[in-house]
């Protein structure tokens, strides 16, 4: 029998190398044409504990993780204890024979006979590949590209461990026990997670400066930028704290470098004064907040969608902003580009809200058409329309001609106090009104550029599921499952949650028989925001706040409760 869809989980302690083999397996699968959804679960520690690397593989277009496990690759006994109950009907366990797992679903592999302890993870990889009936040569190739540069001796041992495992699997009737159905001829694709896509998107848009203070799950965005910094001509600086990070980025942006900062909720809390400064000085800045469960330190390595309202209102005083909430890896790329463009266009703070689940979720993605995706247009050298130059000249759309300091004889003055058109501090209260109005006029431009929420399904459905950001995938899959069941279901997915333009979606809410919101938080933040902006009360909500991503199973269970 061949399987179109297999959900495999590699489990063990931090430090056992499970992410490495997970990545190799993921890449090998994508090279053969499969689609994947990776979810990573790890603890706030470096060694020990219980971590998993979960790959859902399919010949079809999948969008979300799955709960039931078809293949459990257990690097320790705890993994079996924790996940045994999740096994599907065809579910199977791969474990070291010496762990003595009393389960007839377990393929007991004599790890010690097949390789040195250091290479147990590769053995597990090999057995898994074999069980899936997967061509071992592809794994070998991927393994090479992973370890190639390093020690050739290690490379050789890796290869040996792999072929030994395949041999053992074949001899012991494990090969092909969960054979994957073949794929159509594969297009070349990338294996990319949300944070990698953000980094690529930022570079394609011409980001030139980035300052950061490390914080999970945002750090990998920065590490990806740093890795490319020399080649792409970026400066990425680790700041002394998040306050420094946001102010440095503002300084760099003021001086003409498209800039971004990336952090998580707690670090963003320290940037809030800087957000307000970006608005007042009208300095472009992209702020990426990778959410994790709070309050305070919370669950630092888990996922949540708990900071929407916080980000929407962060900063003292009043000013416009925009918030993008990508739902897919591709959208991480495109919305980061859009955020950088929009920041330069409206000259102020623009947000991208992601979360740990999406940050770490690798997918198969078609390469982006980088040749045809232009970076943001550089500013700052055109002649000023009025002399002497007025940095904050009053304009119809609220956006003033922007010059850069030092590029011409025109002087650029920016001020955090209320200021006159030339940027100097003022106590003239009539000017105050003009400047407040000017800044608010940008909201119109932001509204005109809003990405409408995506509606899928017939008009007037029995059930409309409303969601945002990374919960999009699970919601779409839940809807598909319900439709298969004969139900009349539609979905409305927001990849921009601010500004909200009611004409883009209110009719859908009104026409559905029942509306249910689905969010990865405890208080239903999008639902509340929708009511504030449209008056429409979403009467029923599905919420998750245990630190794990939503799944279609979770949603379906909640709907039938």
């Amino acid at each position: 029998m061949e399987f179109e869809n297999v959900n495999l989980v590699i489990g063990g302690e931090a430090g056992q190398g499970l992410v490495t083999i997970g990545q190799i397996l993921a890449k090998s699968l994508v090279r053969r044409g499969y689609n994947i959804v990776v979810t990573q679960s790890y603890q706030s520690r470096i060694r020990g504990g219980h971590n998993t690397y979960n790959i859902r593989v399919s010949t079809e277009d999948i969008k979300a993780p799955q709960e039931s496990v078809d293949l459990l690759i257990a690097l320790n006994a705890e993994t079996v204890d924790r996940h045994r109950s999740e096994l599907s009907a065809q579910g199977m366990i791969i474990a070291d024979a010496r762990l003595d797992i009393a389960d007839d679903k377990c393929i007991k592999v004599p790890f010690a006979e097949l390789a040195d302890k250091k290479f147990y993870n590769v053995v597990a990889l090999g057995i898994a590949g074999a069980v899936l009936g997967f061509d071992g040569r592809i794994i070998t190739q991927t393994l090479e590209t992973f370890f190639g540069k390093k020690d050739p001796e290690v490379a050789q041992k890796n290869e040996q461990a792999l072929s030994e495992s395949y041999r053992w699997a074949t001899e012991n009737d494990a090969f092909g026990r969960l054979t994957l159905a073949p794929c159509a001829d594969p297009l070349p694709r990338l294996v990319l997670n949300g944070n990698e896509a953000i980094a690529l998107g930022a570079m394609s848009a011409g980001v030139k400066f980035c300052s950061f203070y490390p914080m999970t799950p945002a750090t990998s965005i920065l590490l990806n930028l740093i890795a490319a910094a020399e080649q792409m001509g970026l400066v990425v600086e680790q700041a002394e704290d998040e306050i420094a990070a946001v102010n440095m980025a503002l300084g760099a942006s003021f001086a003409g470098a498209p800039s971004l900062v990336a952090t998580s909720g707690g670090g963003f809390a320290l940037m809030v004064e800087g957000v307000s400064l970006a608005a007042m000085t009208e300095t472009p800045l992209v702020i990426i907040v990778a959410q994790r469960p709070g309050p305070a330190t919370g669950l630092p390595t888990r996922t949540e969608q708990g900071d929407l309202e916080f980000v929407l209102h962060a900063g003292h005083g009043e000013f416009p902003r925009a918030i993008f909430t990508p739902g897919t890896v591709e959208s991480c790329f495109h919305l980061t580009r859009r955020a950088l463009e929009l920041a330069e266009r409206v000259q102020g703070p623009i947000f991208l809200l992601t979360d740990q689940y999406l940050a770490d979720s690798a997918r198969a993605v078609l390469p982006f058409d980088l040749k045809n995706l232009a970076p943001v247009t550089p500013v700052g050298t055109a002649a000023p329309p009025v002399l002497p130059y007025q940095r904050y000249a009053l304009t119809d759309n609220g956006v003033s001609p922007r010059l850069l300091p030092g590029l011409s004889e025109h002087l650029v003055v920016a001020d955090s106090d209320e200021h006159t058109s030339d940027g100097h501090i003022t106590e003239d209260l009539q000017v105050r009104i003009q400047m407040v109005d000017k800044r608010w006029r940008k909201l119109e431009d932001l509204r005109s550029a809003v990405i409408p929420p995506e509606y899928q399904g017939d008009a007037q459905p029995d059930l409309l599921l409303v969601t945002w950001g990374s919960s999009q995938g699970p919601v779409l899959e839940a809807a598909a499952a319900l439709r298969k069941d004969g139900q009349h279901v539609a979905t409305l997915c927001f990849s921009q949650v601010w500004p909200l333009v009611e004409e883009q979606f209110l009719n859908h809410l009104q026409e559905a028989k029942q509306v249910v919101s689905v969010e990865g938080n405890a208080s239903g933040q999008l639902a509340r925001l929708v009511r504030r902006e449209t008056g429409f009360l979403i009467p029923r909500q599905v919420r998750r706040y245990d630190g794990l991503p939503l799944t279609s199973e979770y949603i379906l269970r909640a709907l039938t409760q």
Binding site: M203, M248, G251
Partner: protein
């Protein structure tokens, strides 16, 4: 040729008799002496009476948040290494709210000049103790006297082997202008801590008080001698040395970034071919 007039004359919001006026004068002198045109210079300031100073100069200015001028200046300098970047703000701003950035700037040795109007008080907020207020000083907010020891920025900067560490006095304008000029010329981070009488709120450390105590370092003083410098940095009270207390020819922060040798970041095109290569590493 640039002249003092190019830097303009403005009405200020300062109190008559404030030490800030002399500092403003010295800054202008130094800029002209360094032949810097107004558009070549970027001032970055925070919030406070001192932080208003660059508003009274005809030049580029980013007047940001209280305590945050150093990070803004750092970002600007990294984005455009052609700019002469000068931080100008108060003691509260730079050593209080912004203390962590001060440490980081010393470690980085980035090519920024930092002018601190040190009036040993929070002026704009009406006279609370600042980090440099002398222990025991009585203010409305410290009616029993300041309970903490005063922060000695010179000592910390020398202990951390900062690029250039100097002290000036608003009552010695030409000497101060010369210090500022040297600070701008110094390739690396240069601190000029400037003793500045606040006639409205600091009735202890007055013009007369400073005048009596400030003395110029002798001509044979060697600022590259760290041990001498750290000792000199301790002098405070009856005698207060002014001048360049320490100098350290460390490499500049900027020199660690090859990309900065090609000029400002925003002026460099995005290498799409390279990015395509980078993207394909994910294939």
């Amino acid at each position: 040729m640039v002249s003092i007039e190019d830097y303009g004359t403005y009405e200020t919001a300062w109190c008559p008799g404030c030490g800030n006026f002399n500092i403003l004068k010295a800054v202008k002198q130094a800029l002209v002496a360094r032949r810097l045109e107004p558009h070549q210079v970027l001032f970055v300031s925070g919030i406070g009476q001192a932080a208003k100073a660059p508003h009274y100069l005809n030049t580029n200015l980013f007047n940001g948040l209280h305590g945050r001028s150093l990070p803004v200046a750092t970002g600007a300098r990294l984005a455009n290494p052609n700019l002469t970047v000068i931080v100008e703000s108060g003691d509260g701003c730079n050593y209080g709210e912004g203390g962590n950035h001060f440490l980081a700037a010393l470690r980085r040795n980035i090519d920024i000049t930092m002018l601190v109007h040190n009036n040993q008080i929070y002026g704009l907020t009406k006279g609370q103790a600042s980090p440099t207020s002398d222990e025991g000083m009585v203010t409305k907010a410290q009616p029993q006297g300041v309970p903490s020891a005063a922060f000695n920025p010179i000592a910390v900067a020398v202990a951390m082997h900062g690029g250039m560490v100097a002290r000036g006095f608003a009552g010695m304008v030409d000497h101060l202008a010369d210090l500022i000029q040297q600070a701008i010329a110094h390739p690396g981070f240069a601190l000029v801590d400037i003793l500045q009488p606040c006639v409205s709120f600091n009735h202890v450390n007055t013009f007369a008080w400073y005048k009596k105590r400030c003395y110029e370092l002798p001509s044979d003083y060697d600022p590259t001698n760290w041990e001498a410098a750290i000792k000199k940095a301790q002098e405070w009270g009856e005698r207060i040395p002014v001048g360049v207390i320490y100098r350290n020819p460390r490499p500049r922060f900027e020199d660690h970034f090859p990309v900065l040798q090609h000029g400002r970041l925003g002026g460099q095109p995005v290498d799409r071919e390279m990015l395509i290569k980078i993207m394909h590493k994910f294939a």
